[in-house]
Point group: C2
Chain length 188, copies 2
Amino acid sequence: MSVRADAKRNHDKLLQAAREVFRERGLEAPLDEVARRAGVGAGTLYRHFPTRDDLLNALMQAFIDRLDAAADAAIAVDGSPRERLLSWVRGGVAEVTYSKGAAARLTAALGDDESRIATKAAAFAQASGRVVEALGADLRPGVDGVQLARLVGGLAMVVDQGELDESAFAPLADVLVDGLLAPTVVGS
Amino acid sequence: MSVRADAKRNHDKLLQAAREVFRERGLEAPLDEVARRAGVGAGTLYRHFPTRDDLLNALMQAFIDRLDAAADAAIAVDGSPRERLLSWVRGGVAEVTYSKGAAARLTAALGDDESRIATKAAAFAQASGRVVEALGADLRPGVDGVQLARLVGGLAMVVDQGELDESAFAPLADVLVDGLLAPTVVGS
DNA sequence: ACCTGAACACCGTTCAAGT
DNA sequence: ACCTGAACACCGTTCAAGT
C-alpha cells in the first residue's frame, strides 16, 4: 500500500543484480556495479540498502536455507557420530564458502549483535547447535553451537583465503572432527 | 655505493612510518598516510615498495623472529605433549594476530609461492614444522608444518575477525589441540 | 515518496618535471 | 638515480533537483 510500485520493482532488481555481481566478483564487488546492472541510480541503492551488509543480509535467506538443509542431512547420516559430524563440517564449509568473503563476514558476525547480518550469523550458530544436540554425549562436553560455528567458519576462511582443494582440505577437517568428538575409551 | 644516502634514509623512514601506521590502524591502513608520516612523496613509497605486501614483507622479520621464539618456547615446555602443542597454538595465534589483518594475509600466502610475503609464510610453516618434529609420534600421523600453520592461521582469523577474548578462545584451542594429538589408548 | 545522477571525498597509482 | 606532488582512476556516499 504505502510502497510505490517502482520502489518494489527497484528493490527486486537490486537484489537480482547483487546476486549476479556478488557471485561473479565476490562480496567485495563495487556497489555501483550493482546499481548500474540493476539500471537504477546510485542513490536508489543506498535508499534501499544503506550498507553492503544490508544488501547481503537480504540475499542470504537462500543461503541459510541451504545451511539448514546441510545440518539436517548431517543429522540424518546413517553412520557413526564421526561420520555425522564430518558431514556437517564438510557441508557447512561448502555452504559458507559459496561466495568469496562470506566466511569472514559470517564468522565476524557470530559474536556481534550489532552486525547487519546478525540474524544470519545466528542461524549459522543455530544450525550448528542442532548438530551439537543431535550428537549429544558423543560430542566433547561443553561445545556449543557458537563454538562449532566458529570452528567451521575458521576452516572455511582457510579454504577461502588459500583456495584449498579437496586433498588439502580433508586432513584439516579430520583434525577438527576428532578434536570435537568425546574421547573414546579404546581397549578397555 | 650505488644507493644514494637520501634513498637509504627514505627507505628507513618509510619502514618506521609503516610500523606505526599499521600498528595503529591495521594492515589495511591507507598507504598515503604512511608516505605522509614518513615525510616523502607518494611516488617514493611506490618506488621502494611497489605493493602493500612488499612493505609488509620488509616489516615482518621481527614478527618471524617472535614466531620462531614461540616455537622454541613450546618445544622446551616441561610438560606433556599436549602442553607443548597447546603452547605453540597459543603462542602462534598470539603472534599472528599481533596486527589486524595479518592472520588472513599470512594464511592466504601459505600455499602461494607468488605471494610477496611467501618467505614469511614459509617461515610460519617451518616454525610449525619444527613443533611437528619435536612432538614426533605424539602427534597425529600425517600432519605436517603447512597443515598445522593453516589450522593455527584459521584459529587466528577467527580471533581476529571476532575479537574473541580468552574465555571464548580457550575452548577452541583445546578442540584443535586434541584433534592434532595422536589418539591415546586409555584403560588398556 | 521515490528517483536520478552530478558532486564530493577518499585512496591507490602513475608520471612529468625537478634535483 | 632518486624525489616530489599534481593528476588520474576508482569507488563509496550524499544531496539538490526532478517526477
